[in-house]
Symmetry: C2
Subunit: 365 residues, 2 copies
């Protein structure tokens, strides 16, 4: 049979069938996997190519016997956050190109919802799970272990969990925060606020208490706080607990706390924000106090967006590689499903500080 | 047995079991439906209450025999759009409170993806589907009919489709656009740009050609265009095709087109934007031309956000009831599943024009 023209060895792959049929890999995968929509004309071409290459007799049979459903499950903390929406887009684009559909569940930062979502994905027989988990410690990961026990591979995205030896795709949170705060220090600032810290009700008095609180909360937030402290340490600026917001992470609370920091006897002249809502909350505070940025307050925050660029003055922001985070997580999940050796490592992607016009030297007071 | 204390008639409901057990309705539904996570202690209380009220013998058995999976499927055009993220939140909140999980698929405005997503949801045996469809005509709805043929109810959200006699939950697009343009006209404007119109490559020369193009494209976009034209008609302002952007709906194209309109011999003095990316694109154009708003260009757009409120000056924007849109769609889908008579109607929710500071009288030229 003519199946081995130009091929070296091994059974034909989906990509080879796709090339032979002159269709995309996803179309070939859908047809051969027997799921999803493919037009009758394309389906016929793919099946003809598969028969010609001898694909049908092995790979399709294998796919059917392993019961791969060609669906990935994604659990994110909040699909309403443009960051997670971008990550999901990256996952969808990559998984689609490799013939997998993606279903998404959002837990709105509620661990009970995350447990329920994991059970839904197990129940729906997904081939793997990518999760940005709200779990923070050993005691909160039983649902993830359950998925693993059922043979469903899990990849963490955005948030690492120390208690689990799993692949994780994250950004360099600590370095990104340190770099931003260094820019503020280089401009001459020494009173630099941090919004937001851990969501504890009792205000930590010492650096030690603060770090202890951070390590009981979200990994990303803790890393960003450590980067802020790193930059202060390097510049020999003493830590001042009054300059770190703690408590509920809402735009309203950010406004209140930034107003408070702007009214301190030795007020802040710069601010580092770890999330978009913290940035908009801070901008409200600046307006409320009838101040302007960057004259009265220099400002750098996560995450860059079209809005940050059209602000007047435009904001210096940290851009996360959101699409890449998702794409990489999908790759790390799919490669072993398609035969690659699984590895369990931390994949760290780099952010980019987009310098615009929200940083200036402090005003003489 | 003590099952009918205080009850009037009929078998006990999930809500009654929940009340008896002292737990939330969702917890009771999860326990009795045998899906999702419930802590052992709560599960025991629910089962005890169910037995006490005589629930177990009827409703649970019915649920098991009908094979209800207690999962809703949601298909949205783009989960990266904060509007859809808000709608999904509304769907999740309502369905969760009623004991249903929600899985989401995003099609990124690609009809082939939408067809595939529908097949995934059928395959995953969801109990119903809520869809913001990219389909525009009779020829593009076969996948939705397939779901209906399989006995899966479908509710449209955000986008109505004339060819389908289904429940649809939408906003008053036409009136919202008319009201916004009326505000611009009342401020004295007569040269009012519209971004964006239908994504056609050939620029329509007449109002008739424009409306024909609109009716072959997204329903929401067409309705907003009609509202713009309504307001012009009421004020006897002649339609000028040069003031309507057509072509690809991207921020970059919006910037180019607004720059073009600002450079016309009789330039625009006001602008109505139908989406967030059109607003940020327009703001880039204003800056690029070294102009400022509202002095040189008055501006109203869809959709309101935290960013729009912290712009300087803050933007007058149309706020959509995003959470309510999702909540209502979930209700309309779930009510018949729980025994209500299904109706097939258009549920129209109202937007709110949030007046801020981006509208001023035109400058004398």
């Amino acid at each position: 049979m003519p199946a081995d023209r130009g091929r070296t060895s091994g059974p034909p792959t989906i990509s080879e069938v796709a090339a032979e049929a002159g269709v995309g890999r996803a179309t070939a995968a859908r047809t051969l996997g027997g799921y999803g929509y493919v037009s009758p004309e394309l389906k016929e071409r793919v099946l003809a190519a598969a028969e010609k290459l001898g694909y049908r007799a092995n790979a399709l049979a294998r796919s059917m016997s392993t019961g791969v459903s060609h669906t990935l499950g994604v659990i994110v903390a909040d699909i309403g956050n443009p960051f997670f929406a971008g990550v999901v887009r990256g996952i969808c684009d990559t998984s689609r190109a490799r013939g997998f559909d993606t279903i998404v569940l959002s837990t709105y930062e509620n661990l009970d919802e995350e447990v329920a979502a994991t059970n839904v994905l197990i129940d729906k027989r997904v081939d793997g799970v990518i999760i940005a988990s709200a779990a923070v410690g050993r005691g909160e990961v039983a649902h993830i272990r359950t998925a693993l026990d059922r043979g469903i591979p899990v990849v963490l995205v955005d948030r690492a969990i120390g208690a689990l030896d799993l692949d994780a795709v994250v950004i360099n949170n600590r370095d990104a925060a340190r770099e931003a705060v260094e820019v503020l220090i280089a401009a001459g600032h020494r009173r630099i606020g941090f919004v937001w810290g851990p969501p504890v009700t009792k205000v930590p008095r010492t650096r030690r208490e603060l770090l202890a609180a951070a390590s009981r909360n979200l990994w990303t937030d803790g890393e960003r706080l450590r980067g802020y402290l790193d930059a202060l340490d390097d510049a020999h600026i003493p830590f001042d607990p009054e300059l770190v917001m703690v408590g509920p992470k809402t735009e309203e609370r950010a406004t209140e706390e930034v107003v408070r920091m702007l009214r301190l006897p030795r007020r802040i002249t710069a601010l580092f924000c770890t999330e978009t809502d913290a940035v908009t909350g801070a901008l409200r505070a600046v307006r409320q106090e009838k101040l302007s940025y960057p004259r009265d307050l220099s400002l750098i925050g996560f995450d860059d967006s079209a809005w940050a660029a059209v602000m007047d003055p435009p904001l210096t922001m940290i851009e996360q590689p959101v699409h890449q985070l998702g794409a990489k997580a999908a790759e790390v999940l799919l490669d072993p499903l398609e035969g690659a050796e699984p590895r369990r490592e931390m994949h760290t992607l780099r952010t980019r500080l987009v310098l615009r016009s929200s940083v200036a030297p402090p005003q003489p007071s």
